[in-house]
């Protein structure tokens, strides 16, 4: 690329602000709004309680959260990266199935996973029952394994249900790592085993970091699983402070400290690799041919690939199926259940659409006009993911309700006609909440997708007479549609599973599958809960399979 062309492009972009940048700033402002609202609540009132929180709540729950995150991170990275390497570096019988099945735990919300294993591994459950039968014990009072409500169980449960975030990003990286690099390494005498540690893994580090960050944010957002397992996390403390002590300001203070903590983590990771560059060449990379495994090695590989799927998906899914079948005579799906399914799918789809468009605007602006402002917009747009769902929901509730109230007041005063609660009453507030929360996924994914396209493409396209818009439609969109689709599907699945924000912001008589499930669980009528949970998992599988397909297509 000629230095002159680059200089001109830069000069041009500095002279005026493109509509893309304006859109990116608007998106960032919309995400910042709830976060700023929470920050305002946090500083509004301190009083004496902050002392209590500082001394008795934060140290313990920060420690618990750190341990849980570190443990989950280790499990998720080990399982996710290992599995990704397994299916991309080796070919074995059943690899085709294992490759997409490894994504299935994405469809299982953490709270369902925890509940299922609490029951499966209970002394009354099938596994301990079988052990007792083998050992000849009659009752759990004579023999039982230690209770699973503990940190190590929580780490395993979170790790095995969240590893697909790492698997997804790591596999995409391994698949497109050009064979040239790997072959060069081999020529230089690196064995196949070492190839992973010396070349493939270091090259995949940004991707693994992104995946791990997504997984860890899920840990931070979880309330249900931690509640079942008795782990006092920061998020649980936010709830307690707010709900039990009726102290929203205190809760907001904890939430803000969490946010600072998360931002520090993200910064740290970026800082750690600030001196490294990861660029692909403009040529389409030739993927590395997987090594064919035979006989027992093939079986071992298959076993290793299947294990995470069994723990993260088959276990809870089987549990739900058995529970659903046992407790209901298949009279069909009830109307509320079907309506909830329709609600879930439609709101999630709308939110996904919004997230994709907003995410693309933010990522594209950063590409067209690279610089501090657009970069900042991109970072701000991803803040929502680091705020626990309920807290974010409060941050959205207040400005949105203010808007609704004001509009209603104006309309009543000037037209004698009430709009009621326009955004809250229509479910639009829900779409906003999902979008603000999951924008990080799409911005991250699309940025990664765009960063793969060398700027020389843009220059070539512009030289050939395409406008910026033309370049977008003819060059960037076709080349990033895989990243877009992948981000969209991931966002969709996450919207479907979302619980706390949905609970707080939905209109009257509106149930999603997750709120329905939660309501049943609160009530203890597990028969319907199992069916709703199964529906979440079942509907979640579809996008997950599509997700697996997009990954494979990109390789062909």
């Amino acid at each position: 690329m000629s230095a002159i062309a680059a200089g001109r492009l830069k000069a041009q972009s500095a002279s005026r602000i493109s509509p893309w940048a304006v859109t990116a700033f608007a998106v960032a402002a919309l995400v910042l709004l709830p976060v700023a609202t929470i920050a305002l609540i946090a500083v509004a009132d301190t009083g004496t309680l902050w002392n209590h929180v500082l001394v008795h709540v934060l140290p313990q729950s920060t420690w618990n959260t750190l341990v849980l995150m570190a443990g989950t991170g280790i499990v998720a990275v080990a399982v996710g990266t290992g599995a990704a390497w397994l299916v991309s570096a080796y070919d074995f019988r059943g690899r085709g199935v294992v490759e997409w099945a490894l994504l299935l735990p994405l469809a299982v919300p953490t709270y369902i996973m925890a509940y299922a294993y609490l029951d499966i591994l209970s002394p009354l459950g099938p596994i301990q029952g079988a052990i007792r039968w083998v050992l000849g014990f009659q009752s759990p009072r004579q023999f039982r394994l230690p209770d699973i409500r503990s940190m190590w169980a929580a780490v395993l449960i979170f790790g095995f249900v969240l590893y697909p975030y790492v698997y997804l990003t790591a596999r995409a990286m391994f698949l497109t790592q050009s064979a040239n690099l790997l072959e060069a390494a081999r020529t230089l005498g690196v064995g196949r085993g070492k190839l992973f540690w010396r070349v493939a893994l270091p090259l995949a580090r940004p991707a693994i970091a992104v995946g791990t960050a997504l997984a860890l944010m899920e840990v931070l957002n979880d309330v249900g699983a931690a509640q079942f397992l008795g782990i006092r996390t920061l998020t649980a403390s936010v709830y307690t402070t707010w709900v039990v002590r009726a102290d929203l300001a205190g809760a907001a203070q904890i939430a803000v400290s969490m946010l600072v903590f998360v931002m520090a983590l993200v910064l740290l990771e970026r800082l750690a690799r600030r001196n490294q560059r990861y660029a692909a060449s403009a040529q389409r990379p030739r993927p590395m041919p997987p090594q064919r495994l035979r006989s027992w090695k093939s079986l071992v590989a298959l076993g290793l690939g299947v294990l995470p799927v069994v723990i993260g998906f088959v276990g809870p899914a089987l549990y739900l199926i058995v529970a659903a079948v046992k407790r209901m005579d298949f009279a069909g799906l009830s109307t509320p259940l079907l309506r909830a399914a329709l609600n879930t799918v439609s709101v999630s789809a709308l939110a996904t659409l919004a997230v994709l468009m907003a995410g693309f605007a933010v990522a594209y602006a950063a590409r067209l006009q690279p610089g501090r402002a657009t970069g900042l917009a991109a970072r701000v747009a991803t803040l929502g993911y680091a705020v626990p769902g309920t807290v974010l929901a409060i941050g959205i509730l207040i400005p949105v309700a203010w808007f609704d109230r004001s509009l209603d007041g104006v309309m009543r005063a000037s037209f004698g006609w009430s709009t009621g609660l326009l955004l809250l009453g229509s479910g639009a507030a829900l779409v906003y909440a999902y979008a603000a929360r999951f924008l990080a996924i799409s911005v991250g994914g699309i940025e990664a997708g765009l960063s793969r396209l060398p700027l020389s493409y843009d220059h070539a396209s512009r030289t050939l007479g395409q406008s910026a818009g033309g370049t977008l439609v003819r060059v960037h969109l076709p080349l990033t549609h895989t990243a877009l689709t992948a981000a969209g599907l991931l966002v969709f699945v996450d919207c479907m599973k979302e619980l706390p924000a949905t609970l707080l912001l939905r209109p009257l008589n509106f149930e999603s599958l997750s709120t329905l499930l939660y309501g049943e669980a609160v009530r203890g009528t597990y028969e319907d809960a199992a069916i709703a949970a199964l529906l979440i998992v079942a509907i979640g599988i579809l996008p997950v399979i599509l997700l697996a397909r997009t990954g494979r297509l990109s390789r062909d």
Partner: protein
């Protein structure tokens, strides 16, 4: 794919708009209590009066939402469990006083606000579940910290309102220092992490994890009646319910209740619904559908609940317990009640 999603989205938004049909009269409930529990009662109300009932279950954040919605809020009735939460509604300024002879006749004065800002609708006792074979006929709340229960007691999070109310009541009776000692004893008795729900206490007794558990009275009815499925019936079969008392006092009976929202657009219907909920037939349904104690003396408790024996509510008023709630919650943090370390 996206096109399909878009179409689906539009269709369902339309459907959502259409899902609230044009009933001549309606009433909107915001509730922190899962409305499915009282759905049969609400259905009976609609059948009798023709007033449609819309609900939204807002487990956390009901107050914030009603406050944020302000004068445009569609909420008519605010419903909640736990006495403290009920008073929080009043303190947040989102209720309005209601004057109704029917309500005053059916709900004892102690179970409603003198100004009509809140009304209790049902009661629930904090009881002890014990393994059936255990030789134990009576227990006091104070004895829950006895050394004989080391590693043998199951209880949910100390920050759950049901437990916070118990700890606050203890504090109202015995003072803060005695409560701290007692709570530390209860913590030392934990057989597993203070997590999950009240029903888990019964399950874990059946599973041999603990001998006794602290739980609400109506869960026993829900489990024993088979309403929660066969498995839960088996849990109920493994336990017996012991109604504890404070030393020289009675049992802690908490309430569920409701208030009329400050900006209720359908105030008449809201009062009508409250009156219905306190009436004899609805109170019978409370007892039958959810095994709670009716507040209306004319309705009786469910036979399953009656097998627990008589429940004599402690003479201390719930409003005397209220000032200790916050301190109780802080105490739970201070002694790390919810961090299992036995």
């Amino acid at each position: 794919m996206l096109k399909i999603a878009k179409t689906l989205g539009l269709v369902s938004l339309l459907a959502m708009g259409a899902a609230v049909p044009a009933f001549a009269e309606e009433v909107n409930i915001y509730t922190t209590r899962e409305p499915g529990l009282i759905q049969p009662i609400l259905d009976a109300f609609t059948a009798e009066t023709g007033v449609k009932v819309n609900t939204v279950f807002l487990e956390n954040g009901l107050i914030e939402r009603v406050q944020a919605e302000g004068g445009s809020s569609p909420a008519d009735i605010l419903m909640t469990v736990d006495f403290g939460a009920l008073i929080d509604l009043v303190n947040a300024g989102i209720t309005q006083p209601v004057k109704s002879e029917a309500l005053e006749a059916n709900i004892p004065a102690a179970l409603r606000d003198a100004d009509g800002n809140w009304f209790a609708l049902s009661g629930r006792a904090r009881v002890v579940y014990a393994a059936k074979e255990l030789e134990l006929d009576s227990i006091t709340y104070e004895q829950l910290s006895d050394e004989k229960w080391r590693g043998k007691l199951c209880i949910r999070s100390g920050q759950h309102p049901y437990n916070t109310a118990l700890i606050a009541a203890y504090m109202a009776k015995h003072g803060e220092e005695a409560t701290r000692t007692w709570l530390e004893g209860v913590k030392a008795n934990q057989a597993r992490a203070a997590a999950g729900g009240d029903r888990d206490g019964a399950r874990d007794i059946a599973a041999g994890i603990c001998d006794i558990a602290v739980a609400n009275s109506y869960y026993f009815g829900l489990m024993a009646s088979g309403k929660g499925g066969e498995e839960q019936k088996a849990w109920a079969d493994a336990i017996k319910v012991i109604v504890p008392t404070f030393e020289g006092g009675g049992t802690l009976v908490n309430v569920s209740g409701a208030a009329v929202a400050a900006h209720a657009p359908n105030k008449d219907e809201a009062v009508k619904l409250l009156e219905y909920l306190a009436s004899e037939p609805a109170q019978k349904l409370y007892a039958e559908a959810n095994f709670e104690f009716p507040v209306n003396a004319k309705a009786e408790v469910h036979p399953i609940i009656a097998t627990m024996g008589t429940v004599t509510p402690d003479s201390m008023a719930l409003s005397d317990v209220l000032p200790f709630r916050k301190r109780a919650s802080e105490l739970v943090d201070e002694i790390s009640f919810d961090t299992f370390s036995n």
